[in-house]
C-alpha cells in the first residue's frame, strides 16, 4: 500500500528520542494540568465553603452503579490505560503503520486497504506526534472511565471509548479483518477495538436503562448470536482449519500458532505456544472440532436466556477465552509491537457483564431523587447550589433554571467547580489528557506535509552556513545562459542531478517540486536550480528529457543547468560535489546535496539530500525541510 511505510528503521534513534521527548513534555503538561486543577479545586473549596457544603448537602445517594457497568467501566478503563502504555513502546513510532497496520490490511479488499492507507499514511507523515497522541488518548480515556462513575461525565467517557474504539477498529485493525479471508474467533474476530467500542456504548447508556430487564438478555443474545456465527465459520470447509497440516505446509491454525511462538517473549510462554502448535499440527481436526462444538454450545446457551444454563456457560467461556488468549493469541503484548492484549479479555468482560446484567434491579430507596451537583459540572449543565433541585413527594416545584449566560458566570462556575467531587475533577483531568493527544494529532493530520523529523532521521540536520556562494554560468534546458549572479534577489535552492539517474535524482526532483508547491505565493521569490552531475550525459537534450519525465517542464522557476564538461567540473569542485563514473553498467555516483542561497548570494544552509527510502512520507518530509530552509533564508521562518 503506497505511502504507509516511511522506510525508516524501527530503531531510528532520532525518532525514538523525539518520541520520548514528546511523551515527557506532554506528560509534564498533564501533570501540570492535574496540579492546576487540584489546586484550583482545593482553593475554591477553601474560599467558598458553601460550595463544599452544597456538595455534601446534595448528597442523597443516587442510583448505585450496577455491577455489570462497574465491571465494564473499570475493566475497560484498565485495558485502555494498559493499551496506552503499550503504545509508548519505542518501535511504535515507525513500526505501527508498516508492521501492524499494513500487514493487517494486506489480505483485505482494495477498498479496505484504501481506507486504512489514509490513516497509515497520516501516521507515517507525523510518526512522533501520532505515536504520542495514541498514548495520551488511550491513557486519558482509561483514566476517564475509571474516574467518572456516573452521570454525563461517565457517559461522555463511554462515548469517547466508542469513538476511539471505532477509529482503531477501522484504521488500525482494518475493520477487525472481517473482510479478509481466514476470519475466526480464535484469532480475535471481530477485532478487539470493536469490543472496546461496544463496551463504551454500554457504559454510555442513560441511567434509566441500567437496570432494564432486557439489557442483560439482549447483551447475551447478541453475544450468543456472535458465537453461533463463529461456530459456523469455524466449521466451514476449505478454510484450512480442519487440517493440522496441508502436506508440508501448516494448517491455518497451526501456522498462526507457530508464527506467534516466534515472537520475542518469555521462554516458558513460547514453549507453551510451541507445544500447542505441535499439538494442533498433529490433531488439527480434533482441535477444530472442539472449537466448533464449544462455540456452538456457548452460543446456544447464551441465546437461550436461561440463567441455569448461562452461569456455567459463562465460566466455560471465560476459561476458553483465557486458554485462547495464552495459547493462540499469545497474549498480544510481546515483541515490541504489541498494541493491546487482543480480544479474549474484552470479550470475557462483555460476557460476564451480560450475565451480571441479568440480575434483578435493586429495590429503589424512598429518599427523594436528587440531581447530584457532582454529576453536572459540565459547562452546559452547570448547576450551582442555588440550582440544586430537590424533588420529594409533595415538595414545592423548583424555580425555573437560570439562562445559559447566568450559568456561565464566573461565580457560578467557581461554585460548581468547588462543589464537584474529587472523581469529577479527576475525570476533567482525564479529559484534558485525552485532549493532549487529540489536538496535536488533528493538527498533524491537517498538515499538508510530513514532519521534517523524518528527513532529519534519514540524513541528519541541516548545516547552517554563511559564505558567498561560488558563482557559475551555465545553460538551462531552454538553451539560455544562466548565471548565479543573474539570480540575485531571489532565494536559490540548488542541487545536483544526473539526468539519466534511475533512482535518487528523480526523487530529489520531486522533492524540489513539492517544496515549490509548499512555498505557495513565496515561490515567486525562489529559483529551483539543478546542475547536471553526469560527465557523459549532460547535453541540453538530456536535461530536457529529464524535465519531461519529472513533470518539471512547465514549472516556471525550475532551471536544469548544464554546460561543457570543464565548466561543470569546476562547479562540482566549488560545491564539493563528486560525480564519478561507475564501471560495468553502473550509475554515475554523485553527491546528493542541496544548498539554500539567499537573495544576496550567500550560502545559508547545506542539506544532505540523499532521499533515503523514497516513500511518500520521506519525500514530503524532505520537501518540508527544504521549504522551511527557504523561508528562513527569506527571513520568514
Amino acid at each position: 500500500m503506497p505511502g504507509m511505510n516511511s522506510g525508516l528503521n524501527l530503531g531510528n534513534p532520532l525518532l525514538i528520542a523525539a518520541f520520548r521527548s514528546a511523551l515527557l513534555h506532554q506528560g509534564i503538561a498533564a501533570l501540570v494540568i492535574l496540579g492546576v486543577l487540584a489546586l484550583a479545586w482545593v482553593s475554591v473549596r477553601e474560599w467558598r465553603p458553601a460550595a463544599r457544603g452544597a456538595g455534601s448537602a446534595a448528597g442523597v445517594a443516587p442510583d448505585a452503579e450496577p455491577s455489570w457497568r462497574l465491571l465494564l467501566r473499570v475493566g475497560f478503563g484498565i485495558i485502555w490505560i494498559f493499551d496506552g502504555l503499550l503504545q509508548a513502546q519505542p518501535s511504535m513510532v515507525v513500526g505501527l503503520p508498516s508492521r501492524i497496520i499494513e500487514p493487517t490490511a494486506a489480505s483485505s479488499p482494495a477498498w479496505v486497504q484504501h481506507v486504512v492507507n489514509w490513516a497509515g499514511t497520516a501516521w507515517s507523515y507525523h510518526p512522533v506526534q501520532a505515536a504520542a497522541a495514541a498514548v495520551w488518548i488511550q491513557v486519558g480515556i482509561g483514566c476517564w472511565l475509571l474516574a467518572a462513575r456516573r452521570g454525563r461525565w461517565s457517559q461522555l467517557a463511554g462515548l469517547a471509548s466508542v469513538g476511539w474504539g471505532l477509529t482503531v477498529w477501522v484504521f488500525g485493525e482494518a475493520f477487525g479483518g472481517i473482510f479478509a479471508p481466514g476470519l475466526t474467533w480464535l484469532f480475535g474476530a471481530p477485532g478487539a477495538a470493536l469490543l472496546y467500542a461496544a463496551a463504551g456504548g454500554l457504559i454510555a447508556m442513560p441511567r434509566r436503562y441500567w437496570h432494564a430487564r432486557w439489557l442483560g438478555r439482549g447483551m447475551l443474545a447478541v453475544l450468543g448470536l456472535f458465537f453461533a456465527g463463529m461456530a459456523v465459520l469455524q466449521a466451514w470447509p476449505g478454510r484450512g482449519f480442519w487440517q493440522g497440516h496441508l502436506g508440508h505446509q501448516a494448517g491455518t491454525l497451526t501456522g498462526m500458532v507457530q508464527s506467534m511462538a516466534q515472537t520475542p517473549q518469555p521462554g516458558f510462554l513460547a514453549a507453551w505456544v510451541r507445544g500447542f502448535g505441535s499439538f494442533t499440527a498433529a490433531h488439527g481436526f480434533g482441535v477444530n472440532l472442539f472449537a466448533v462444538i464449544a462455540l456452538a454450545l456457548i452460543g446456544a446457551a447464551l441465546l437461550s436466556g436461561r440463567p441455569a444454563l448461562i452461569r456455567p456457560t459463562v465460566i466455560v467461556m471465560v476459561l476458553l477465552c483465557l486458554a485462547d488468549w495464552v495459547l493462540i493469541e499469545d497474549m498480544g503484548i510481546f515483541g515490541g509491537l504489541g498494541t493491546d492484549p487482543n480480544s479474549m479479555i474484552p470479550i470475557a468482560l462483555l460476557v460476564i457483564a451480560g450475565y451480571l446484567a441479568l440480575a434483578p434491579a435493586p429495590a429503589r430507596a424512598v429518599a427523594p431523587d436528587t440531581v447530584a451537583v457532582a454529576d453536572t459540572v459540565a459547562a452546559a449543565d452547570t448547576v450551582t447550589v442555588a440550582d440544586t433541585v430537590t424533588v420529594a413527594s409533595g415538595a414545592e416545584p423548583a424555580a425555573p433554571a437560570p439562562g445559559w449566560r447566568r450559568r456561565l458566570s464566573p461565580g457560578r462556575l467557581a461554585a460548581a467547580f468547588g462543589s464537584a467531587d474529587a472523581r469529577t475533577v479527576a475525570a476533567a483531568w482525564a479529559l484534558a489528557v485525552t485532549i493532549i493527544g487529540v489536538f496535536p494529532l488533528a493538527a498533524a493530520a491537517a498538515s499538508r506535509s510530513a514532519s521534517t523529523q523524518i528527513a532529519q532521521a534519514i540524513d541528519g540536520s541541516a548545516v547552517a552556513l554563511n559564505y558567498q556562494a561560488p558563482g557559475f554560468r551555465l545553460t538551462d534546458q531552454a538553451g539560455q545562459p544562466v548565471s548565479l549572479a543573474g539570480l540575485r534577489g531571489k532565494v536559490v535552492l540548488l542541487t545536483f542531478l544526473d539526468p539519466v539517474c534511475t533512482s535518487d535524482c528523480p526523487l530529489i526532483a520531486q522533492e524540489f517540486r513539492a517544496a515549490d508547491q509548499l512555498l505557495g505565493a513565496s515561490r515567486r521569490n525562489v529559483e529551483l536550480v539543478a546542475i547536471a552531475a553526469n560527465p557523459v550525459y549532460h547535453a541540453v537534450a538530456d536535461t530536457r528529457a529529464f524535465d519531461q519525465q519529472e513533470g518539471l517542464a512547465g514549472v516556471p522557476n525550475w532551471r536544469f543547468l548544464t554546460g561543457p564538461l570543464p565548466a561543470l567540473r569546476q562547479v562540482w569542485h566549488n560545491y564539493y560535489v563528486a560525480a564519478e563514473l561507475a564501471p560495468a553498467g553502473g550509475m554515475v555516483l554523485h553527491t546528493d546535496v542541496a544548498y539554500v542561497i539567499d537573495a544576496a548570494g550567500h550560502t545559508r544552509t547545506e542539506l544532505n539530500f540523499d532521499p533515503g527510502p523514497g516513500t511518500a512520507a520521506s519525500k514530503s518530509s524532505f520537501a518540508a525541510e527544504l521549504t522551511d530552509a527557504a523561508l528562513k533564508a527569506m527571513g520568514r521562518s
Binding site: 539517474c501 560495468a584 555516483l589
Partner: protein
C-alpha cells in the same frame, strides 16, 4: 565468388521477453511491447553478433537479482583476429533494465539502455572503435523490452521500438527523432489487419534501407513482418507452408545481415506446441525457411548470428529460392529437429559443423545452430555451466560466454588434439567489476 561486404548489421537480440527472474512465460512467442511504467526488469534475451573482419559482440546479464536491481547488463567484445574478450559496456548510465545494440557497420555499434526504476527514457551510446570510446545520445522515450528494439540503417538512421508501442525513426546520426508509426496505426492498415497485429516485437532495416517492423499476429498462418515504402506499410514476411498454416506466428528477432535479412520466428500450434523457425530473405525480399525446431516447452533465452556466414551461405545458393525451402522443412525436419529434440546428434560429432548463421540457447540448457534454410538444426554438445551467450564465427568458430555473478568465462567449441570429438574448452576467465548496490 565474392563475399559481399557487410554493411549495416543489426545485433540480433533475441526477441523473447523471457522474464527470467520471474520465471514466467511458458511460450516462446515474444510478449510484445510491455506497458509503460516499469517495475521489475523484463529482460530481452541475451544476444551476440559477429561482424566479419571486425569484432564479435555479446550482451550478457551479470551480477545479482534483477528484482533488487543488482543485475547489470554487460557488452563484451572480441576484436577480429584476437582471442580475448574485453568489457565494453558504455559508461554513464545504469543498465539494470537491459541493453540492446545495433551494428552501424565496421567497428561501429550503437547501444540503447532499457529504462529501469524511475528512468523513463533511453540513453544511447555510439562507438566507432569497437568500444574504446563512446559518444552519448538519447531516445526521448523508453525502449521496448525486446532484443530487436533498436536498428541501424543507411547513413546512421536509427529505428526504435518504444515501450508505448511506437516506432520512432531518427535523422542520420540519431540527432532528432520523429514518429514513424504506432502499433495501433499499423494494426489498422490493411497489412496489419490481415495479420491481426497484436504487438510490435522487432525493428530492422532492409539492406536497401527500408524500415521493417515485425510483431505478433493473431491470425493463423501469417507472419507479421511489414515494410515501409511509398508512404505505406505492406506485408513483407515469408508465406508459410501448408504444414504451418494453422500456427500463430510471432517474430522473435529481426536483423539485417549483409544483403540478407534474418528472422527468427516462433510458430505456436493450436494445441500449444511451439516450434522455432529461422528465415532468410534475399535482397529481393524472397524468403527461405528452415525446418521447424520443436521447443518441447523450452524457451529461447539467447540468440546468436554470424552475418558473414549467412552472407556466404546464402550467396552460394545453398538455400532454395523463396518459400520452397520451407518444404524442405517437411523433409529434413524430422532429421534435423529430431536430433535437436532428442539430443542424439551433436554431442560427440566427429567434426566441427559448418559455419552456422543462427544459433539459440534454450531454457533447457541445450544449444542449437543452423547454417541455412537447407540445413538441419544441429544440437551442440552440452553447454558449460552458466552458459549465457553463444557466439558464432568468425568462420566455423563457436564460442560461449558463461556468466555467474561477476565472473565471465569464455569457452570455445573445438576438437582437442588427437580427438575427433568436439568439446568445450575454457579460453578465458574475466572478473567484471559489477557495481553492486549502486542502483538501489
Amino acid at each position: 565468388m565474392t563475399i559481399p561486404r557487410p554493411s549495416r548489421v543489426t545485433l540480433p537480440a533475441a526477441a523473447l521477453a523471457a522474464m527470467l527472474a520471474a520465471g514466467c512465460g511458458s511460450t516462446v512467442a515474444g510478449t510484445g511491447v510491455p506497458a509503460a511504467g516499469r517495475t521489475h526488469v523484463r529482460l530481452p534475451l541475451v544476444t551476440s553478433l559477429t561482424v566479419p573482419g571486425m569484432a564479435s559482440w555479446a550482451i550478457v546479464d551479470m551480477g545479482g537479482s534483477s528484482a533488487a536491481y543488482e543485475n547489470f547488463w554487460q557488452l563484451i567484445t572480441r576484436r577480429a583476429g584476437t582471442a580475448r574478450w574485453t568489457l565494453a559496456t558504455p559508461p554513464g548510465v545504469a543498465d539494470n533494465g537491459g541493453l540492446v545494440a545495433a551494428s552501424l557497420g565496421g567497428a561501429a555499434l550503437v547501444t540503447g539502455v532499457d529504462p529501469s526504476q524511475d528512468l523513463r527514457f533511453s540513453p544511447l551510446a555510439t562507438t566507432r572503435d569497437s568500444g574504446a570510446h563512446w559518444t552519448p545520445g538519447l531516445l526521448p522515450a523508453g525502449l521496448a523490452s525486446v532484443p530487436s528494439a533498436l536498428a541501424a540503417g543507411t547513413g546512421g538512421r536509427l529505428l526504435a521500438l518504444t515501450d508505448r508501442g511506437l516506432a520512432e525513426m531518427s535523422a542520420p546520426g540519431g540527432a532528432s527523432w520523429a514518429r514513424l508509426t504506432s502499433l495501433a496505426s499499423l494494426a489498422a492498415t490493411p497489412a496489419g489487419r490481415s495479420c491481426g497485429l497484436r504487438s510490435l516485437t522487432a525493428a530492422a532495416f532492409t539492406p536497401s534501407g527500408m524500415p521493417l517492423l515485425a510483431g505478433q499476429c493473431a491470425s493463423r498462418g501469417v507472419t507479421g513482418i511489414f515494410a515501409y515504402s511509398g508512404g505505406g506499410w505492406r506485408r513483407a514476411g515469408p508465406a508459410l507452408p501448408a504444414a504451418l498454416a494453422q500456427r500463430r506466428v510471432s517474430v522473435l528477432q529481426l536483423s539485417t545481415a549483409g544483403h540478407r535479412t534474418i528472422a527468427l520466428l516462433t510458430a505456436a500450434a493450436p494445441g500449444g506446441a511451439v516450434s522455432l523457425i529461422a528465415a532468410w530473405a534475399n535482397p529481393g525480399g524472397r524468403w527461405a525457411l528452415s525446418a521447424p525446431l520443436p521447443l518441447n516447452g523450452a524457451r529461447v533465452v539467447s540468440t546468436a548470428a554470424d552475418p558473414g556466414a549467412a552472407a556466404r551461405t546464402t550467396s552460394t545458393g545453398t538455400t532454395s529460392t523463396g518459400t520452397t525451402a520451407a518444404a524442405a522443412g517437411t523433409g529434413t525436419t524430422s532429421t534435423g529437429t529430431t536430433a535437436a529434440a532428442t539430443g542424439t546428434a551433436g554431442a560427440g560429432q566427429a567434426a566441427i559443423p559448418a559455419a552456422s548463421t543462427v544459433g539459440v540457447i534454450l531454457s533447457t540448457g541445450l544449444a542449437d545452430t543452423i547454417a541455412g534454410p537447407a540445413s538441419p538444426w544441429r544440437q551442440l554438445p552440452a553447454l558449460p555451466a552458466h552458459a549465457a551467450a553463444l557466439v558464432l564465427g568468425p568462420g566455423p568458430l563457436i564460442s560461449a560466454l558463461a556468466a555467474h555473478g561477476s565472473v565471465l568465462t569464455g569457452w570455445r567449441l573445438a576438437a582437442p588434439a588427437g580427438s575427433r570429438a568436439v568439446a568445450w574448452t575454457r579460453t578465458q576467465v574475466m572478473k567484471v567489476p559489477v557495481p553492486y548496490g549502486s542502483s538501489s
